[in-house]
C-alpha cells in the first residue's frame, strides 16, 4: 500500500483534510463528554427508591373551618382509608417523599459525637403511623414495626411535634451502618440534634431514597429516620398504597367522597405517585434529552461534512482516478485508497479530539462537581467515529472505484 505517497499527497493539499480533522476532533470531545453527562443524569433518575411508587398515591386536604378537629379527623380518615378493599395500607405523613420538600437533622449514636464539629450524621425525617412502612412498601430487615401506643398524637404545630419527638424510631440500613458500623443498631439509642432528644432504634428498613439526587448526594438522601408521630394540622397529608391495578379506581372513589367525611374540609390536591416521581425527575430528564439531541446533531453535521467532502473529492479527482485505473489499479485499490485516506484524517482528528475531550472533561468536572470522565468513554468515542467515518465515506468511495479507466484517454 502506497502509504508514503498517500501521506505526501494528503500533505500537499492539507487544508480540506485538516478542516475535517478539526471537525472530528470537536465532535469527539462533545460526544464523549455529553454521553457521560447523559449517563450520569440517567443514573440519577433511575436509582431504586425502595418504595412501591406505582401503586401509591397521596391526598392533601385543607380546611377553612376554625374549629376543625385535626386529631379526630386523622383518626377517622385513616380508619376509613385502611378499610377500603382496594387499599393495602394508608398513613399520614409530614412531607411527601420524592418531592423537593425535605426536612433533615443531624443524628448520632451518642451526645459527644453530636457536639463535635460536623459530628452528627445528617438524616431526612418522616413522620407516620405504624402503617407507614407498609404504605411506602419499605422492607423491614431487622427489628420490628412501631408499637401502636408509641404513636404520638398531633401536636399544636410542626415545631412542637418535632420538639416532642418520639420514643422509638425506625431507620434505614445506610443510617444504621453509619451510626453503628459494628452492626446491631437495634435497641440502641439515637440522639437527634437541634431538639436534643434521644429515642430507641426498634427497626431497620432496607432502603429508602427520599428524593432523586446526583450520586455525590446518594448518602444524604438514603439516610432516613422514621418517627411514629402524627403530623400537626389543620392541613392533612395522606399517603395510600393501593392493591395492584386498583389505584385509579380507588382514587376516583376518594375524589367523590373523601372530602365530605369531615365537615368543612376539602381536597386541595391528589396525585398518583408515578406522576409525582416523574415530575420531580422531569428537569433532569429534559436536560439529558436536550444534550443528547445536540450531540447527535454535531455528529450528523460532521458525518455530512466527511461525506460531502469525499463526494466532492471524487468529482474533482475523476481524471486522476481514471489514470490510476489505466495504469493498473483495481477497483479494490481505489476503494482502499479512499478508506485509508479517510481513516488517517479521522484518526488525526480523533487523537486531537481525545486531548480536547480529556481537557473538557477535567474542566467540566471541576466546574460542575461531576466525577472525572472515565477513559473507556474515549475508547468508545474513537471506535464510534471510526465506524461512522467509514460509513460516511463508503458511498463516495464506491463511486470512485467505479470510475472507468477510459476516463484517462478522454479529454477533460
Amino acid at each position: 500500500m502506497e502509504i508514503r505517497a498517500l501521506l505526501s499527497a494528503l500533505w500537499r493539499n492539507k487544508t480540506g483534510p485538516l478542516l475535517v480533522s478539526a471537525q472530528v476532533a470537536i465532535t469527539l470531545a462533545v460526544l464523549v463528554n455529553v454521553a457521560y453527562i447523559v449517563q450520569l443524569r440517567i443514573e440519577q433518575v433511575s436509582k431504586p427508591t425502595g418504595m412501591d411508587l406505582d401503586n401509591m398515591f397521596w391526598i392533601a386536604t385543607g380546611t377553612s373551618s376554625r374549629d376543625y378537629n385535626h386529631a379526630t379527623a386523622v383518626k377517622a380518615d385513616l380508619s376509613y382509608l385502611n378499610s377500603l378493599p382496594g387499599v393495602v395500607a394508608a398513613s399520614t405523613i409530614n412531607n411527601l417523599p420524592q418531592t423537593g420538600a425535605i426536612i433533615g437533622l443531624p443524628f448520632a449514636s451518642n451526645l459527644e459525637t453530636l457536639q463535635r464539629p460536623n459530628g452528627g450524621t445528617g438524616a431526612l425525617i418522616y413522620f407516620g403511623t405504624d402503617k407507614l412502612l407498609n404504605t411506602l412498601g419499605l422492607r423491614l430487615i431487622a427489628g420490628r414495626n412501631f408499637d401502636l401506643d408509641a404513636i404520638k398524637p398531633p401536636a399544636a404545630d410542626f415545631e412542637a411535634s418535632l420538639g416532642d419527638w418520639a420514643q422509638e424510631v425506625i431507620i434505614t440500613r445506610k443510617m444504621a451502618e453509619k451510626l453503628f458500623p459494628d452492626g446491631n443498631a437495634i435497641g440502641k439509642p439515637i440522639y437527634v440534634g437541634l431538639i436534643n432528644k434521644s429515642s430507641t432504634i426498634v427497626g431497620i428498613v432496607d432502603h429508602m431514597q427520599a428524593a432523586p439526587a446526583p450520586t455525590r448526594y446518594d448518602d444524604f438522601v438514603t439516610q432516613v429516620v422514621i418517627a411514629p408521630i402524627i403530623p400537626s394540622g389543620p392541613n392533612g397529608l395522606y399517603v395510600v398504597r393501593a392493591k395492584p391495578g386498583q389505584r385509579a379506581a380507588v382514587m376516583k372513589q376518594l375524589e367523590k367522597n373523601f372530602a365530605d367525611l369531615q365537615p368543612g374540609r376539602f381536597i386541595s390536591r391528589m396525585q398518583d405517585y408515578t406522576r409525582t416521581a416523574a415530575e420531580t425527575r422531569q428537569g433532569t430528564r429534559t436536560s439529558a434529552i436536550i444534550l443528547a439531541v445536540v450531540a447527535l446533531f454535531v455528529l450528523a453535521v460532521t458525518v455530512v461534512g466527511i461525506s460531502g467532502l469525499a463526494a466532492f473529492n471524487v468529482t474533482t479527482r475523476t481524471k486522476q482516478l481514471g489514470i490510476r485505473r489505466a495504469i493498473g489499479a483495481r477497483k479494490f485499490h481505489i476503494l482502499r485508497y479512499f478508506l485509508v485516506e479517510n481513516w488517517i484524517i479521522t484518526t488525526c482528528g480523533a487523537v486531537l479530539g481525545c486531548m480536547l475531550a480529556l481537557g473538557a472533561g477535567i474542566k467540566l468536572s471541576t466546574l460542575y462537581e461531576m466525577p472525572r470522565l472515565p477513559l473507556y468513554y474515549l475508547v468508545g468515542g474513537v471506535l464510534l467515529l471510526w465506524i461512522v467515518g467509514l460509513l460516511a465515506v463508503l458511498v463516495p468511495a464506491r463511486r470512485a472505484a467505479s470510475i472507468s479507466p477510459a476516463v484517462a484517454t478522454r479529454s477533460v
Binding site: 500500500m1 502506497e2 508514503r4 505517497a5 505526501s8 499527497a9 500537499r12 493539499n13 481524471k319 486522476q320 489514470i323 490510476r324 485505473r325 489505466a326 495504469i327 493498473g328 489499479a329 483495481r330 477497483k331 479494490f332 485499490h333 472507468s404 479507466p405 477510459a406 484517462a408 484517454t409 478522454r410 479529454s411
Partner: protein, 237 residues
Amino acid sequence: MIDMQAVSKIFRTDLVETQALRSLTLKVATGEFVAITGHSGSGKTTLLNVAGLLEEFDAGSYTLDGQDVTRLNDDERSRIRNEKIGFIFQGFNLIPDLNIYDNVEEPLHYRGMPAQERRQRIMRSLERVGLSTRMGHIPSQLSGGQQQRAAIARAISGDPRVILADEPTGNLDTTMSIQIMDLLQEVNAAGTTIVMVTHNPELAQRAHRQIHVVDGQIAQIHEFNPRTASQSTAAAL
C-alpha cells in the same frame, strides 16, 4: 503481440447508436512501432482504449501477447494493463499531488513488488529518460517535455510488453516533440512494441507502419520503415 479479429464497439445513448469500431482486424507484431492515424471521430482513440483494455468491446476477439483477453473481468483486465501495457497520454496525466518519484512508482505498487526492486526500477527508468535530478519535483514544477518524459518513465518502469501512446507530442513544441520521439524509438529499439496514435503525418513516418482508420475501420496501411523484408501489405477491408 496484438491480434484483434473483427472487433466491433457500439456506443449507445438514449437517442443515438454510434458504431465506433466496425469489425476491425488488426495485427501488431512483437517489436513493431505502429502509428495509427485518422481524423477526429474516426475511432482511433476507441481503438487504443480497446487495445489497452480500457474499454470492453461488443463483438470479435482479442489476443494480447498470446493470451485471449476477450472476456476478462475488470480485475483481470487491470492486472494485465498493469503488467503488460504502458500508457502515454497527450496530456501527460501525471498525478498532480505526487512528486515524480511517486508518480513513476505508482503502477509498481499494484503489482505488489518489494520496495527494493521498485526503487531499482524507478531509478533506472528515470535515468533512461534523463530525469533523475528531478524526482522530488511535482508535475506543475516541470516543463511539458519533462512531464511527458516522466510519464514515459512511468510507462516503462514495469517493463511492459507494449506501450500505447495517445498523441504523445500533441502538447509539446517542436524541439520537445523530437526529444520524445527519439526516446520512444530508443524504447522500441530495445524491444518494446509501441502503438502510437497521432494526427501528425511527419511523426507517423517515423514508425515502421502506419495504419489509417476511417469510420471505425482500417482504411489503409503504409509501410514506411519495414523491419524485415517479409512484410505484407494488407488490403483494405
